[in-house]
């Protein structure tokens, strides 16, 4: 590849890296925390019971690096650069001497998708493999490769592979190859890949066509067809400068509109609360007033944890829901609220919330963050066998294994647990007697907690805040 052709992918890659690392790092953390990549044979095999499993496995592998946002940003940027390179090569073969700027369309489409926190890297893997396949077919014009490769590609990456049924004939037309032959071979090969999947897999047929692995929610992910559009547009508009300009302006607008900075901010609050960086939460709130309920929950927790509850009304409050809202079945707010319960010493309730948050993850993944917290709560509550299971699983991860191996040394050692700066304290803070937890009477739960251990200042401060907010409602 000559330097001129490498220029655009390189620029895109650097820009993407800086964006995801410096502007959007909490979206990366969000993606990482709702999965748990295990280095075990069972985990590997679990992906290969449906089409797209290979892309899903690779996607999960790359996503784990988002534990360190700089590494995650490097991964995301690499996919964008690779997309630009492959797309550029395909477009260059079809319409030689076209503007290099059109290369950015497919990469722009991928970038827009990546800005959505529920888009998974398996979609990026699938798109890159699709582009590589299209390029291979363009270069070789081999019927055998189309026939065998299309079906194999579908098995490996899932529904995105079916876009080749449109892309291959269109690119064949521009490359001077036989269009109908290409279309028929691609369609037949897709059918060969689809039919066994529809007969054997426990998924509705439409989901098998649209893909099951690209989006966190079990919906028909039609957004992936923007990739197809992004690959077709350069062929159709390359002759018209004004259309090129319009499309590029649209891309620029999308680059500004697609990143969701409100969600990024909320995710930052959650991350800081999870890490116990409460002073930073307060600084964040001072810069810009919290705008969502989760942000408010984190802020009030931070005020309680830093004994700044006298500053409660320095920020606009919305009643007791700012301390603890009614239980809601979702995987995002439940996990953040688990921090409120955890930090205030309500270990059993925290365990319930973390467990339920994990069960709510829409793509049925397990979460390393949840496993870690579940292991901690199990250690504190003395259920060491269960804690051991969670720790054994975490020991097969890249970034949590060190912590898991260290935590395993505490199992069954009551003295060591009591001496732990967090777990010992959490044990002391537990309720004296058993009763039924009622999150709708959170004030009462806090009251009984403080009664059990008056030294629990976080619970005490939350109780003061709760009562004050309740009185003002």
């Amino acid at each position: 590849m000559d330097i001129s052709k490498a220029r655009v992918p390189a620029i895109l890659g650097i820009a993407a890296f800086l964006f995801f690392w410096l502007v959007y790092p909490n979206h990366l953390r969000f993606a990482e925390q709702y999965q748990m990549f295990l280095y075990t044979g069972d985990y590997f095999c679990s992906f290969f019971n449906r089409p797209g499993g290979f892309a899903a496995y690779l996607g999960a592998f790359f996503t784990q690096f988002a534990y360190i946002p700089a590494l995650g940003a490097l991964v995301y940027a690499s996919f964008i650069s690779l997309t630009a390179i492959l797309a550029g090569a395909c477009i260059g073969k079809a319409v030689p001497r076209q503007s290099l700027s059109l290369q950015i369309l497919p990469a722009a489409a991928l970038f827009c998708m990546m800005c959505n926190e529920n888009f998974k890297l398996s979609g990026a893997v699938a798109f890159v493999m699709l582009l590589a396949f299209v390029l291979l077919v363009i270069k070789t014009n081999s019927s055998a490769i189309i026939l065998a490769g299309q079906a194999l590609l579908y098995c490996l990456v899932g529904g995105i592979a079916l876009q080749a049924v449109i892309l291959l004939p269109v690119y064949a037309y521009f490359c001077g190859h036989k269009v109908w032959k290409t279309f028929l071979l691609s369609a037949a090969s897709s059918f060969i890949g689809l039919l066994p999947a529809m007969l054997l897999c426990q998924y509705p047929p439409l989901r098998l066509i649209f893909g099951t692995e690209y989006f966190r929610f079990p919906v028909l992910f039609t957004g992936q067809w923007f990739f197809c559009l992004a690959m077709l547009l350069p062929l159709l508009i390359h002759k018209y400068r004004w259309m090129r300009a319009v499309v590029l302006v649209c891309c620029a607008v999308l680059f500004i509109l697609m990143p969701d900075m409100k969600k990024e901010r909320t995710m930052k609050y959650d991350h800081l609360a999870y890490r116990g960086r409460f002073n930073e939460i307060i600084k964040l709130a001072e810069k810009k007033t919290p705008q969502t309920r989760i942000q408010m929950n984190c802020l009030n927790l931070a005020l309680a944890a830093t004994s700044n509850i006298d500053r409660l009304y320095d920020f606009p409050q919305n009643g007791v829901q700012g301390i603890m809202p009614p239980y809601s079945r979702d995987f995002v707010s439940t996990l953040t609220l688990a921090e409120v319960l955890w930090r205030s010493g309500q270990t059993a309730a925290a365990q319930v919330y973390v467990f339920e948050a994990q069960e709510c993850i829409p793509d049925y993944q397990k979460s390393a963050r949840c496993y870690k917290r579940l292991a901690e709560t199990a250690i504190i509550m003395g259920t060491y066998e269960v804690a051991g299971k969670y720790l054994t699983a975490l020991s097969h991860t890249l970034f949590y294994s060190g912590w898991a191996r260290k935590a395993a040394t505490y199992l069954g050692d009551e003295q060591k647990i009591s001496g732990h700066d967090v777990w010992g304290r959490q044990r002391d803070y537990m309720y004296d007697e058993d009763f039924y937890y009622d999150v709708n009477n959170f004030g009462l739960m806090l009251y009984r907690l403080v009664q059990s251990n008056p030294a629990n200042t976080v619970a005490k401060n939350l109780l003061i805040a709760y009562q004050s907010l309740a009185n003002n409602e």
Binding site: T40, D42, Q202, Y203, P204, T212, P218, R329, Q346, A348, A349, Q351, V352, F355, E356, Q358, E359, C360, I361, Y364, K366, M381, T383, E385, V386, G388, K389, T392, A393, M430, Y431, E433, D434, F435, Y436, Y437
Partner: protein, 474 residues
């Protein structure tokens, strides 16, 4: 010359390696997982592979009279070849197999596995679901061939978005006759009577709640359903993780021919809770759990269910209630009564109170003997953790399975035991797996509602997506 020297050196090295090592004999059983020491197994069970929890590579062999079978070893797992295992078991049926274990330089005391002459139903169907609170993630219904390690997916909830499947029940172990519930927005009750399949809305407005626990009449003409209004609470200390109680419950009978529900005050008394129906094998008796109505949740720990029965003849529910076990008098509560295939026993779960004992750590299995009109706790089967949800083998052999949390206190595993002719029970053994330690350590699902059957359970997804019909009310 050099070659000759090398050959003799090699021979010497081989001789050194193969020379018998000095083994220390220890007069104690090896620590193995699962615990298969002195268990009784049916003669058609899959190989009982196990892990040896000792230092050093294990050596395991079975012997019966002049025959022996060596296990291959993978890590710490002793694995028996399936075909040879089955031949071995058939040879030893009615007798016992000696198991010799050594690991490193330690030779352990031999133990025995007793092989029953009777077979167990060859298939087991169960749900695998996380031991959660309200929400379920991925879950499914699976059918396992008990003579091998083959497990097939019957249904996974990826097939119908947002669904959950539960309470599958076969007619006398025949999975061609099945009823189960699908929860979720597209939920309903499936009833397949062997010929036809219908998908019903079970909450027809006349019953207190939707159909929950069910039991087939052996004729296949009727199904008894309990209709419950369950509610849930959580403990702050999590010794018992969850408390589930019924705000109200009754029993109704579904007539498969007319597709109508009917009931009577005997099993739907406004002054009491009736739940967990089951029919006797001759179909003439309807067993159920019954407790006096109490204000819930205030008196949740005072709700105690007795084992009761009434007659059921020609589709007519009897007028009298017989109390077979007055558990309330002993401050106990009975749930899930299920009669044995030979009609002699009724097994049930028993705990200190309540109607959902699977979350009570004190839950144990009890056995009522119809011949002697007496009952006891199956102490030889139970553990300090929850033991519940049993299913009899339908071939009259006395084998049964149940779900137990004894492994780690949270995740239920399936165990098997047999009621001997003298009424005692054998030491239970865990559902065999190819690599049991690795499998069960990595498994974060609980086995739920294990049901034995005589043939493989299959389900067509179309059965669960067909148009829903309304259950009529007689």
């Amino acid at each position: 010359m050099i070659m000759k020297r090398a050959f003799f050196i090699l021979l010497f090295a081989i001789a050194i390696c193969c020379a018998p090592k000095d083994e220390t004999y220890v007069d104690s059983f090896p620590e193995i997982y699962p615990d298969y020491i002195s268990v009784t197994v049916p003669c058609n069970i899959a190989p009982l592979n196990f892990d040896v929890k000792s230092e050093g590579r294990p050596y395991v062999s079975l012997s019966y009279r002049a025959y022996s079978l060596n296990a291959s070893v993978c890590g710490s797992t002793a694995m028996f070849p399936e075909k040879k295992w089955h031949k071995f078991l058939m040879m030893a049926a009615g007798d016992s197999i000696k198991v010799s274990v050594s690991a490193g330089n330690v030779r352990y005391k031999d133990f025995f596995i007793y092989v029953s002459e009777t077979e167990i139903d060859p298939y087991l169907s169960y749900r695998k679901i996380a031991p959660g609170f309200e929400i379920h993630s991925k879950m499914g219904l699976y059918c396992r061939d008990l003579t091998s390690y083959r497990e097939k997916v019957v249904f996974e909830n990826t097939a119908i978005t947002g669904s959950c499947i539960n309470c599958h029940s076969f007619n006398a172990g025949d999975p061609s006759q099945v009823t189960l519930h699908v929860r979720g927005t597209k939920g309903g009750t499936l009833i397949r009577d062997g010929k036809h399949s219908g998908f019903f809305n079970s909450n027809n407005g006349h019953t207190r709640g939707g159909c929950t626990y069910e039991a087939w009449h052996p004729s296949g003409k009727y199904i008894a359903y309990s209709t419950n209004i369950p509610l849930q609470m959580y403990h702050v200390k999590l010794d018992n993780r969850i408390e589930i109680y019924d705000k109200d419950s009754d029993i109704s009978i579904f007539d498969c021919a007319t597709e109508e529900l009917f009931t009577s005050p005997t099993i739907a008394d406004s002054a009491s809770f009736e739940t967990y129906p089951s029919f006797s094998r001759d179909g003439k008796t309807l067993f159920f759990a019954r407790a006096l109505l109490r204000p819930m949740p205030d008196e949740y720990d005072s709700a105690r269910y007795n084992l009761c029965c009434t007659s059921f003849e020609d589709g007519k529910i009897g007028n009298e209630i017989r109390t077979l076990v007055d558990a309330e008098a002993d401050s106990l509560s009975i749930c899930t009564p299920r009669p044995s295939a030979d009609g002699r026993y009724v097994m049930f779960a028993v705990s200190s109170w309540g109607t959902f004992p699977i979350w009570h750590r004190d839950c144990q299995l009890g056995l009522y003997d119809m011949k002697n009109d007496s009952w006891r706790i199956l102490d030889e089967v139970c553990s300090p953790e929850t033991d519940s949800w049993h299913s009899w083998s339908n071939n009259g052999s006395g084998w049964f399975c149940f779900a137990s949390r004894r492994d780690d206190g949270l995740h239920t595993r399936v165990y098997f035991s047999m009621i001997n002719p003298d009424g005692s029970a054998t030491k239970p053994f865990m559902l065999p797996q190819r690599r049991p330690d690795r499998y069960y350590t990595r498994l974060f699902y609980s086995y739920n509602i294990p049901e034995l059957s005589s043939s493989e359970f299959t389900l067509d997804i179309d059965e669960l997506t067909q148009d829903k019909k309304e259950m009529g009310q007689r």
